[in-house]
Symmetry: C2
Subunit: 702 residues, 2 copies
């Protein structure tokens, strides 16, 4: 086996994933699109979503053009390798493409899921899940493709032009440091997608609910609500396109961060390629796993969840077995400990998923506790939800802590420090290796949600809505699990990126000793610890402002369009979509700039050690805050659903009204601010790495 | 001046403070106690408060007895100096005494403030403020007394028995390390007082509001509400006794932490005594400052605030001048930079106060923004308040960061690292030097609040209530400012304590390098970053549970006591007080134990470096979270008051109901969970220091 180039598995895995995704996509498109109304509604959502993305990509491309020019300037000034600006571009492009493809298929699937749900629950599940799988496999397929292309290209180029290898490193180092930088493109794109999409979706959702449900007293997804299409568009641009870009970034980030540490870990070229090969194995395992997801009619929540779990667990199991032989044959028996690092990550991911489910599913105590609190009104619902969210941070932090220690020690960190860091980094790759299928279980949720909206607006029989509701409710839990994965892996990846930043600083002839007792490091920690709060504050206020614009518009339409409430006239859906789009585009700029400029500003004023502190501080607070917000939001949402099932007086009761308040507060928590944090902490690390030499040469301190 | 023993100023300052406090107390007691009803109501509150404190001290004394035995055992096993267990006891005793005296006089002052407010606003202000001043001066007086006694005793004892000086340090080192440990007693007492009192006060407040205001529709402080006395008792045990113990701990903690670093900083005995002397100067300045606080009739909020500010600024100014000469003559011209460290702290404290005021006073945008959000219901009020609270963390973090850097550099940290750390520590002493008066402006708030309750229940003319309301509303802002001081100084003190912990670890022959890249340190950071969230979750849930017990009891009384609503029968106030007392005592145990055991457990499993990370992590997150919770809570409270003044529809409107929800959510934020965090982070550091040798000898790692 020694002669075999395992790395070939990466492009092969990529092509397999993309081919299978294309096959599923075609299958979905061939399935019954439902009656004319259903198709019309789906089309309205599709048009709105595409219009949003078009606008979004336009705005983002301006940003990319500016940053590209800055990077090109820095590269020409010899601060950076010449390929960095281009790597930055492709990272952004592929990340955006992942979101776009996932969303395109999701908007084609909502009416088809509704149509399939007319037949049976299993049919509905199959269509929705297939749509999720297209997304999952596209993300991993494009990720591996981008990585493979760059690796092979740079390997060839530096082989032919050894003189262009930057000073201070060898060929492998030059390759990994460039690849690391394309993570910055992916992260930037992801941040815009998450923040912009998150603001859009929650502004539309909150706006639609506030006027529709609360003021006008019409049900959710009622076609008379002018913001209802915007709400459905939001699910797609935020929860689908945003999530796709986000997890593309996590996936690619974990791989490049591990590769970057491979050389320092003394593992040679194999250390660099193993994470990519491992990812390729995960792709195959994910494809196999998708075949295990099916359900019977009248399946309970638990049975449905078990169906999804079966797919995920099968994939994990396959990865766990193949990874052993992979590492045995590439890194050799001496480094078999690294296998256990991978397994640590894999297990930590599964455990975080279980913990998340416990805290956010109405089958367990915490969410029911919040539902109970609704009996004494909205204030106690909020206090209860905050308490549950805060409590829910303990176990994920402990799990990640154990994973860090375990993967460090397994990899031999006590003997060779750098190999230990490599172990930590690769545990994130292990955690995300089955992303193809975990993302599928996650991305099917918004499709089911939209299918429900479609069924409601098309006046389909109530049992259809009941089926889509069952799928949707499950989606809330899997969405929280997906966020758990994203943030758990982010903690490990960000740590690897800080290590890579340190390597980069040392390479440029500076030193970096991140001793907490040093005032600069400590001040960095403080500033970094505060940034996630500031970032969340900005995004939450943005949602508030955008939502109130929607509120004003919906009120205006209710008032000015005659016969709207009687169902005789149609509302102007497009206007609400347009308003949400404009607001989201406008509001996403400031928080994103904060993330990108903060490390550079801190570095220039206080030096690279303060930047190290900044990254560590934002990592710690960002992680805890993200878990808190995602879980509190998920629990509030499901507590409301639990009440709607008939507990504590059911729909319309005093308790329900209190539950709706909790759900509304949770919306920006779980879908805007919280899930952006994992990107924030990695993007800040990437920016630090890319601008390391610039910071070192221009710092005011020392 | 070289021959003069400046340290004599410490006992002199202490006696001055206590004498002046006694003078003010007598003056208050001699003033008009109001009519019989007023006295009766005040007595009911007084009895309830004393009953609570009695019970609290009983519970806490069991805890102290247990810990005393453990410490004695460790001392006999040579892990600790023999005086540590006794220092621990006196720290707790004096901290408790501060709270007790402050509360005793506060409960005597509420009816007298109401009586004085019948004459004029200025008379009311004078009584309430005098009561606050008694508290402020008692805290600083007792603090200096305890410090002086221990210093002089140990100095004498070790002078006579040099053989009992522990190995590895000299006489001064032995003195400071023992004194440091009595901080642990003060912090333990403070944590119990804040948590227990905080749970009591908010359980009673929330419980009274939920049934009284929301369900029964009777106004606040209505005598028909069975929980109304408990609510008033809560103000005293939480906001007065709790705050007294809290700030005693901050005050003493900042001084002993600085003294502990004095030797390592190379400043000799002067470095040890200067912080005490500086505190003594602050006492005199505070006494002078109290004479500047007076107001005219019909003074607006701004004028009233200016009146209080005048006192604080005068004191700060006096300290700023005298400190120069003090440091010039004790530490010498070479170390005059340390003067600027003190000034950095003083300015940082004032600036944090200004920022806090901006974010929590209804005179400014953020609070009005929250009030505006009430127009779209409770959900947007909550989202808005969270966003404001999170946003409000940015400036305090930046201010403290600048203070850290400035005081480090001014003190000469770039040349001599340890002197720089000393500079950071003494900047906290500078910040708290005027505590005598800042605490007075803070502690007068609950007295005014209770005076309002007294006026309401005694059916005094509406203009009296209006005057007490004016004083009370101002109290909300000064309370938030006081919390800003407590948390700002805590950040600086905790940093000094971590440094002292490191010194202690080194003294016991172990090494400690808090490099963030080390997995143990990083895992410590993560765990530490999570602890404040877990702690807040526990305390908030405790409030929720205790409040629902009150709700049940109030509902029962409304139902079972005939003629209660018509005012013909009296409710059973004592029962509500009893329930809240029992619940608070029960609920305060777990979160407090968490704080005390966490560093020991982490240390035993992962070693001292992980403990260092734990302390830094909890410092960063605790600081940010505390500011967020205190400011969000203050802003919600004042947004509600702003609406009640007639904005957005005024009392009883839709907006007002939404505002009440925000206020209720803010209650445990600002009065239970948030203000306990500054104690938590220091107590954990103190525990780490005291148990350092135990951890080193028993750790499982290495």
């Amino acid at each position: 086996m020694q002669g075999f180039d395992f790395l070939l598995l990466a492009p092969i895995g990529s092509i397999l994933a993309l081919t299978f995704a294309a096959y599923l996509a075609v299958k979905i498109l061939k399935s019954d699109p439902g009656n004319e109304t259903m198709q019309e509604i789906a089309q309205a959502v599709r048009i709105g979503a595409k219009a949003y993305l078009k606008r979004q990509y336009l705005g983002v491309s301006i940003f990319f053009a500016v940053v590209f020019c800055i990077l090109l300037f820095l590269a020409l000034k010899n601060y950076l390798v010449i390929f960095v600006p281009f790597a930055f571009l492709t990272g952004g492009l592929f990340s955006g493409l992942s979101g776009f493809i996932g969303m395109t298929i999701a908007t084609q699937s909502s009416n088809r899921t509704a149509a399939a749900a007319m037949k049976s629950l299993n049919s509905g599940l199959r269509v929705a899940f297939s749509s999720g799988a297209v997304m999952g496999l596209t993300v991993v397929g494009l990720g591996l493709l981008d990585l493979s292309i760059w690796y092979y290209f740079l390997n060839w180029y530096y082989g032919v032009n050894p003189q262009s290898i930057p000073a201070g490193i060898d060929k492998i180092g030059a390759i990994t440091s460039t690849m690391l930088c394309f993570g910055m493109g992916a992260s930037s794109q992801a941040l815009f997608a998450r923040v912009g999409g998150g603001i859009f979706t929650k502004a539309a959702d909150v706006g639609a609910d506030l006027v529709g449900k609360v003021e006008a007293g019409i049900p959710e997804d009622d076609p008379r609500n002018p913001a209802v299409i915007a709400d459905n568009v939001g699910d797609n641009v935020g929860d689908v396109a945003g999530m796709g870009a986000d997890l593309y970034e996590s996936y690619v980030g974990s791989i490049v961060a591990t590769s970057a540490l491979g050389v320092a870990a003394g593992l040679g070229i194999q250390g660099v390629t193993v994470p990519m090969v491992m990812a390729a194995v995960g792709v195959v395992a994910s494809i196999i796993g998708t075949f295990f997801v099916k359900s019977k009619e009248n399946a309970s929540q638990k049975v449905l969840l078990a169906a999804l779990r079966k797919g995920v667990f099968t994939s994990s199991f396959i990865v766990a077995i193949i990874a052993y032989f992979l590492i045995r044959f590439t890194l050799g028996a001496d480094h078999i400990g690294i296998y256990w690092s991978v397994i640590s990550g894999l297990i930590a991911g599964v455990l975080i998923g279980v913990v998340t489910e416990y805290y956010t599913s109405s089958g367990f105590k915490p969410t029911r506790f919040i539902a109970d609190q609704s009996l004494t009104g909205p204030a106690t619902v909020i206090i209860g939800g905050m308490a549950v969210g805060m409590m829910s941070t303990a176990l994920p932090v402990i799990i990640v802590s154990i994973a860090i220690m375990a993967s460090f020690i397994f990899a031999g960190g006590l003997q060779h420090f750098e190999t230990g860091l490599y172990g930590i980094a690769i545990s994130a790759v292990g955690m995300l290796s089955t992303l193809g299928i975990t993302l599928a279980t996650d991305a099917y949720g918004p499709v089911a949600d939209n299918a429900g909206g479609n069924a409601e607006m098309s006046h389909l029989p109530p049992e259809v809505r009941k089926r889509t509701d069952a799928l949707d409710s499950l989606g809330n839990t899997t969405a929280a699990t997906g966020k758990g994965f994203a943030i758990g892996s982010a903690a490990l990846t960000a740590l690897a990126l800080i290590a890579a930043f340190k390597d980069e600083v040392v390479r440029f002839g500076s030193t970096m000793q991140l001793d907490i007792m040093k005032p600069a490091v400590l001040v960095g920690l403080f500033l970094g610890g505060m940034l996630p709060f500031l970032f969340c504050s900005m995004t939450m206020r943005a949602v508030g402002r955008a939502a109130s614009k929607i509120v004003v518009e919906v009120r205006r339409q209710f008032k000015e369009i005659k016969g709207l409430m009687e169902g005789k006239a149609k509302p102007d859906y497009a206007r609400c979509v347009g308003i949400a789009t404009k607001a989201a585009q406008h509001e996403m700029v400031l928080p994103s700039l904060l993330a990108i400029t903060a490390p550079i500003i801190v570095g220039i004023i206080l030096g690279v050690e303060a930047v190290g502190g900044l990254l560590a501080g934002s990592l710690v607070t960002g992680f805890v805050l993200a878990v808190m917000m995602a879980n509190a939001g998920g629990a509030w949402d499901n507590a409301k659903k639990y009440i709607e099932e008939g507990h504590h007086g059911g729909k319309g009761s005093f308790a329900h009204k209190a539950g709706v308040v909790g759900d509304t507060v949770g919306d920006p928590f779980k879908d805007t601010s919280g899930p952006s944090l994992n990107i924030l902490i990695k993007l800040m690390s990437m920016v630090s790495i890319v601008f390391a030499s610039f910071i070192i040469r221009n710092t005011l301190s020392k």
